[in-house]
Symmetry: C2
Subunit: 262 residues, 2 copies
């Protein structure tokens, strides 16, 4: 039995001043919310909805485009339109850079992912010296050039995060920090070995829609925002020693912070 004859979707209200394509989107959204269509399940095809509602194809596509913008569904060329599955999320705890987590040889990302039973990967590794942007320069205290460490993180083959660390050259140049693999405990461990005892971090969080470049790098579906996190690390002299600029697929992350009430 076709899903359309089974009363999953209702009729249009011609007397309503709500646009037809919105009414259709409303009905589909409600059906999804109520679980009539489950995650990953295929929605009726455009042609089926054209028949069911007696509207033109562009009207149906208009409805789908609303739901895509809300991140509820995604279209696959040649296959159909599907309810977008909610991917497993990665929780980032606020103590993830605590010194005690820095003892092991592997990076926090790898350890965490292994623990969660997923397959972690890091690629697009790039380490180079470059001119600091205005923003980075300001955050690092008026430096002109910086060491930039770029990398992309993937979980089970899916890119979830793209991060760039910036460090002042006078700190990083010629040290293991300038190597592709900085060694156990990562660059924070190296910074401390170099005499920059870390005191605290500042994190700034924004959310926005991705740029086309970010869509490409993170393989983002329509309707998925990004979380933009900029972390600055300060040593015990109060000097900023690193800025890490991170763009995360918002549907793959929950950030978690613990704050004292003092």
């Amino acid at each position: 039995m076709s899903p359309l004859s089974s009363g999953l979707l209702g009729d249009l209200d011609p007397t309503s001043d709500r646009a037809v394509f919105r009414q259709i989107a409303d009905q589909l959204r409600e059906a999804i919310d109520r679980g009539r269509f489950r995650e990953g399940e295929k929605l009726p095809s455009e042609a089926e909805l054209v028949d069911h509602y007696g509207v033109s194809r562009m009207t149906v596509r208009n409805s789908f485009s609303i739901l895509q913008g809300e991140g509820l569904v995604h279209a696959e060329h040649g296959k159909g339109v599907f309810v977008r599955p909610r991917p497993p999320v990665r929780r980032l705890a606020s103590d993830r850079f605590a010194r005690r987590h820095r003892e092991q040889g592997k990076s926090a990302f790898i350890v965490e992912a292994d623990a969660a039973g997923s397959h972690p990967q890091v690629d697009s590794l790039e380490v180079k010296e470059e001119k600091a942007s205005q923003d980075i320069s300001t955050r690092l205290g008026s430096v002109r050039r910086v060491l930039a460490r770029r990398r992309r993180y993937l979980l089970d083959g899916r890119p979830v995060e793209f991060a760039t660390s910036y460090l002042p050259l006078d700190i990083a140049r010629g040290t293991p920090i300038a190597e592709p693999n900085p060694g156990p405990g990562g660059i924070y461990a190296r910074l401390e070995e170099l005499g920059h005892r870390l005191d605290h971090f500042e994190e700034e969080i924004r959310a926005r829609m991705p740029s086309p470049a970010e869509v490409k790098t993170l393989h983002l579906a329509a309707g998925v925002p990004v979380i933009h996190l900029v972390r600055t690390a300060f040593d015990s002299d109060g000097r900023p020693v690193e800025v890490c600029d991170t763009v995360m697929a918002a549907d793959a992350y929950v950030l978690s912070y613990q704050l004292p009430a003092t």
Copy 2:
């Protein structure tokens, strides 16, 4: 001189395999990024672009719809399509609930906004007892019913945040917390007076596209995500005494956290 004859926008590449409406969107996006169209400025009308590129109107509208999805532009019926201005953002510092900020009579929101020179407002105040959702019940330690305090925050007339606080009935019922105006220092001050000395907060942050209800409540333009923040307050006995569920217009906020490096 029309913006279209002045070389602001280029030509289409018919040999490219990139769809025409994407090429047009690319050109408009680049013009915006380069500042050729400034914030709040009107883009060429659909009709003008139809003439300029020699395409049909639906193709131009398709281009605009891409840019709208990216949150770059917004259309106004009868007026035109405009570059979306970046609204002033509100910075939320991680110490915003520190005890020392609780001394004054006014709420943190009012004080902050006044200091920033904007006009703050709180409306949609609702205080009532209700059944706890599964999630809230879990967070508060298996309570069945809760006191819910709902309110919407506006800056200069624009809604920016919608928040609901949930408190266990055995704590809140019959206290000033159950009043629309809980008095100076807010409910956290009242909780401490009632013997629940606050120890720490946990905040969980997600970003996603808004539901239609959220679009309505926060007057969100297309392409603006929301930040969903859930804060749990714990007293010195380790008991969760409040859960605050907040949905913020992502283009109006930067969250800022300070973390120890220990």
